[in-house]
């Protein structure tokens, strides 16, 4: 088969490596690296590339000014990279479970479920931030199960999305009750968080994302190579010995777990999962084991690029990343919905 080389280690081990995904993944890595450095470099104060390299590889002590600016910028970049990868992975898992190319944690109400649980936990019960992630996880999972159950057996692909959107509307209304209790400044902060914004990301947020991401991202990668049978549909999957019901439930749980810490730190980034998985499938085809890593990289790249652009292009105005992504997301959603329709 063309486009494939086999790595032979002795006689027993033959590792086929498909060239296209490998090339795509490595070029995405290069792009990510370049964007990260650009993100560190630009802002209201630009920093010379040499200074950044000195800060990254402390060959010599960098001056305190660079150090403090970097201290503000790196959590944001790390949060964008991990948050983007996690939301994108969650979107791809949901697309597999729902067998619907338009699924996305923001569109199915899962992010809103996490958000509602976090807001109510924080504002009404005054829980500590470390508890909030678990609460968000429970809220997101419960919403996912609710939406999937309500939309069970609905054949039309827009049906699931509409059910998710309706559930999301109810949850947003519940959040609004809490949101409007403070003044307009707090309302504006809630509002930009509710669209996803990296402005308020702190080093502890970044550390939390690193903690969750370093466990969940490898798990999603492993999981994605096991889910091929689900693409055939539940009957066929059961026919070849997989247990679709259990697998779907586990994947949904995983998807909710991926979203909860991101919602807690950054807010819901709607449409990111949809966009990233769509681009990834365009790049490497349909195999979940290959699409998943590409989806993660594309998600990380999009969120980082959107945040860096929103932070630097329109200075002194800062556009929250979530807003740029929603606007791009709506357009891509429409294009994807058009392509997803069966050809006549």
């Amino acid at each position: 088969m063309r486009g494939e080389i086999t790595l032979r280690l002795g006689r027993a081990v033959h590792l086929p490596i498909r060239l296209r995904p490998a090339a795509v993944i490595s070029s995405l890595f290069v792009l990510l690296l370049a964007t990260s450095i650009a993100g560190l470099q630009f802002g209201s104060t630009a920093i010379a590339l040499a200074d950044i390299l000195h800060w990254l590889f402390p060959f010599k002590a960098s001056d305190p000014e660079t150090g403090s600016i970097m201290g503000l910028r790196w959590p944001r970049i790390v949060a964008a990279l991990l948050g983007g990868a996690m939301v994108a992975a969650s979107g791809h898992l949901l697309q597999i479970v729902a067998r619907n190319g338009l699924a996305d944690p923001g569109l199915l109400g899962i992010s809103q479920g996490s958000m509602a649980a976090i807001v109510i936990g924080a504002a009404v019960f005054g829980l500590a931030p470390s508890m909030l992630v678990w609460l968000g996880l429970a809220g997101g999972f419960a919403t996912a199960i609710l939406v999937m159950t309500l939309a069970y057996r609905l054949t039309s692909s827009s049906g699931l999305i509409l059910v998710g959107l309706a559930v999301g509307i109810v949850l947003i209304a519940a959040i609004e009750i809490v949101m409007v209790q403070g003044g307009i400044l707090q309302f504006a902060r809630w509002l930009s968080w509710s669209h996803g914004s990296l402005t308020a990301v702190s080093a502890s947020n970044a550390a939390m994302l690193i903690l969750w991401g370093s466990f969940l991202l490898p798990v999603s990668l492993i999981a994605s190579s096991k889910v091929m049978p689900l693409l055939l549909g539940h009957e066929q999957a059961a026919g070849i010995g997989a247990s679709p019901r259990k697998l779907s439930l586990l994947l949904t749980l995983l998807a909710a777990m991926l979203v909860a810490p991101v919602v807690a730190a950054i807010g819901p980034i709607s449409f990111l999962g949809l966009i990233a998985a769509h681009i990834a499938r365009r790049l490497v085809g349909e195999r979940p084991g290959e699409v998943m890593p590409v989806t993660m990289l594309v998600g990380a790249l999009i969120l980082l690029a959107a945040d860096t652009a929103g932070r630097t292009l329109f200075l002194p105005v800062v556009v929250p990343a979530g807003i740029l992504i929603s606007i791009a997301g709506v357009l891509i959603f429409l294009a994807a919905a058009r392509l997803a329709r069966p050809r006549r």
Binding site: L150, S158, L162, I169, V170, I184, S194, V319
Partner: protein, 330 residues
């Protein structure tokens, strides 16, 4: 049967109005409400509360409900789609975006905001139709119009959030309006806008018969002597300004326009002038009842009407989507 339903509605609305005037932080007895209305004593504080705070809210709530419900029914008839309403087509969010932009860039205020709101509503409907045609590729799937509308609403709400984040202080007294609220001074724009609402509802009642023909389908309607194109534009030209006039007064209150026509259909059927009038009454009943709930549910903490409406209306929207989908599968 139809007359009975209408009479029932009028009685319910009257009772609810009385209850609305009586309920609040301090319950006023029916006798007091009666006195406040008919033997008004400007030096009696309780009379002032009933007339200046509760009556004005009642009028605003009734107006917004009636106007949004009629707008929803017009849209549902002319597009032959049970799921459309001013909020699900994105009209509300388009209007909000343009109002916020109008305040920010042009410094408009008061009733002058009607014009940017109208422009926003029309623009949003255009975007929704465009989005729906992209999704459906010319098929007549009722869901794709709603999907297009929701996407449009997402787009506009992002733009609104962005505009507010530019300078939150400037929108300080707009917070309630942004989620939909009936304030004590909302009757002021209403004094300018009510003729539009009255005219719109009147025209809707006159156009009713032609619209009912329209629901048979374009060909049949044309065969029976109606001009489908003209009726369609007339109905849209009525429905959008009607919804906008409510948005200008109370903010984007969703789902009245979606739910009221469905209740009217259950009570008095789908066609005829009585259905249109009932729909307006039902809309008024819904918003008045929601306003009362918002004021009393968590008192002394006040909720916003728009929020309570989104909670209940979102559930109703979900139910309507599910029944539409199930019916289609059966």
């Amino acid at each position: 049967m139809k007359g009975l339903g209408l009479a029932l509605l009028i009685v319910v609305l009257a009772l609810l109005c009385g209850l609305h005037l009586a309920a609040g932080a301090r319950f006023s007895s029916p006798a007091l409400v009666f006195d406040a209305l008919f033997h008004h004593d400007p030096r009696n504080y309780q009379h002032v509360v009933v007339v200046k705070q509760r009556l004005t809210r009642l009028v605003v709530a009734g107006y917004a409900g009636a106007v949004l419900a009629v707008s929803g029914l017009l849209l549902q008839k002319v597009l032959r789609n049970d799921l459309v309403s001013p909020s699900t087509l994105g009209i509300n969010s388009g209007a909000v975006t343009f109002v916020v932009l109008g305040i920010y860039f042009l410094g408009l205020d008061g009733a002058a905001l009607f014009w940017p709101a109208l422009a926003g509503g029309i623009f949003a409907v255009g975007v929704t139709f465009l989005a729906a045609s992209l999704v459906s590729q010319g098929g007549r799937d009722p869901l794709s119009l709603i999907l297009g509308g929701t996407m449009t609403a997402t787009l506009f709400s992002s733009a609104t959030t962005f505009a507010i984040s530019l300078d939150p202080d400037r929108f300080g007294n707009l917070m309630g309006w942004l989620v939909g609220d009936i304030g004590n001074f909302d009757y002021q724009p209403l004094t300018l806008l009510w003729p539009l609402g009255a005219f719109g509802i009147g025209m809707a009642i006159i156009l009713c018969r032609a619209l009912d023909l329209q629901t048979l389908g374009t060909e049949q309607a044309a065969a029976l002597g109606a001009d489908p194109q003209l009726i369609r534009y007339a109905a849209l030209a009525l429905a959008i300004p009607l919804a906008i006039s409510a948005v200008c007064v109370v903010g984007p209150i969703g789902f009245v326009g979606l739910v009221a026509p469905h209740i009217a259909r259950l009570l008095v059927g789908e066609t005829g002038r009585i259905a249109m009038i009932s729909c307006a009454l039902i809309g008024a009943v819904i918003v008045v009842a929601t306003d009362m709930l918002a004021r009393t549910l968590f008192s002394p903490q006040l909720l916003h009407v728009g929020t309570v409406m989104a909670l209940c209306g979102g559930v109703a929207f979900l139910a309507i989507v599910l029944t539409t989908l199930r019916r289609r599968m059966a």
